[in-house]
Amino acid sequence: MNTQNPLEPYLRLDRMPHIWCSGCGIGTSVNCFIRALMDLNMPKEKICVVSGIGCTGRVAGYLNLDSFHTTHGRAIPFATGLKLANPDLKVIVFSGDGDLVAIGGNHFIHAAQRNMDITVICVNNFNYAMTGGQYGPTTPIQAKSSTAPYGSFQMPFNLPKLAESAGAVYVARWTTYHVRQLRKSMREAMNKKGFSFVEVISQCPTLYGRKNQFRSGRDSMLWYKEHSVARNHPLTSDINLGFRTYILVGKFIDIEKPTFLDGLNERYKGVREKIA
């Protein structure tokens, strides 16, 4: 009998145990991601994973692929540089909400606007977990955090809407409960030419959960199971996330548009021919 976990070839086992808390949703997200890679049967030497800083920022370090752990917020510009210098690579950015849309927000917007040919997977756990549970760009109004002791009062980002308006060609959202759909969306996103974005709604029982009545990973999973509504192609302006409200999940955007490299090759063609 083969006792090896099928995911093992994709993990750096020498770096285990990982740092994630029990009940955390990042492990599930990584599991879905690896299975999506296996589905695609993509050669490992063609894949690069880039992460920023934070709990999800550790993903790159645990994957047995060429991976890069960037400065806080700069995973996307790094990935862009990587892709431009070697367009044959499949470049995936795997990071958290704070890293991607707070400190890295401008890069997120501009990579989508350029339709840069990369896949961005954002594990959204509604707080800065690694530093102790401070509020972030996605914390729902009313939710408590270590720097919103009286409850948050800032309108959070609606990430799929942000990605769509900035120019993303593929946008999906699932929770960590929806492992099959998540795996499928990750597969589709990686197959898509251009800027593809998958938001993973994930539980953080240690910090966000403890302060907001999701004390265990199981509490969150039950909530996701009972309060998720799947819709294909709703208006992204209708899918805001509230505090302990219904969660709209599904594939929201799937369109075709020339990528940055398509545009570049097209525009430079004449110039390059002249030089040649």
């Binding site: 690694m130 270590s146 720097t147 002791p149």
Partner: protein
Amino acid sequence: MKYVTKLLKGNEAIGEGAILAGCRYYFGYPITPQNEIPEYMSRNLPAVGGTFVQSESELAAINLVMGAAAAGGRAMTSSSSPGVSLMQEGISYMAGMEVPAVVVNVVRGGPGLGGIGPAQSDYFQATKGGGHGDYFTLCLAPSTAQEMLDLTILAFDIADRYRCVTIILADGLLGQMAESVEVPLDYKPREYKKDWIMDGCKGRPPRIVRSLFLDPAELEKHNFHLSEKYREICKKEVRFERFKTRDADIVLVAYGTSARICKAVVEMARADGLKLGLLRPVTLYPFPEKEIRKTAERAKALLVVELSMGQMVQDVKRAVGDACPVLFKGRTGGMVFTPEEVYQSVKKIKIKDEG
């Protein structure tokens, strides 16, 4: 003045000091090991009519501080090494515009992302300007939770008095440990007349707050003015502590966490009959050059003890010249020496001296 004794983490003492000093605007971004500062401010600023914003990045934080300070408010941000590197652009602009603010750096090991253990490896950045251009930031180095509070209060006063950025250079150890702190109950911060702030030009000509001077002659003049200010700061604001240096043969020079450890080393050595002392700079800019020179003239050797690969030691050597040998003991990357380890280094000097 009346005091109340509180058990506070070093980071919380900074928050407490800032609010006492009249800080009403705090902007910051999460980073370990300083998170207790924004957490403290988010909890306590609302009750005094203040405003807390968790910014989207350190770049945003320093620019929010710049704005609030340009409006005349007392503003602060805090971070740890990688975050403070991101703030350097804003700090240079504030130095150029002479906008006062307090920036706390709870230092962790570097370079790059480094680690989260305590370090003193940002000394150069904090004392030599840090960003681009001809400027200095005043730099205070606390070594106890009490000083985290006292020096934060002082930092706001100095910042307003000289219209400069004041850096509080702590480290992960000072930030995280709890000590009893005497908190003044009826402290009244001194008010400074701010005839340069942007508060609407009703009844006066409009003002401009800027760091752009395209005419080289004008920019040079501006730099002469800044330089004059730094000279005055160097003359008036030097602070340091002497600990059993009067009869000392060997004097340790250390600040912050290293100085705490060195105090224990001095006690150990004295118990053995060794004449050891400690000179602790409290201001790292301005640096207590004259005092170090005077000490060196009387001592047989100085040992500079730092949580870095040797940064302050360069300033000590410059101050000492050829007055006596200057030796160095350092650990880095978040590693902290024990008093015994430093004592061993001291004993080696003794042996060398006699041989």
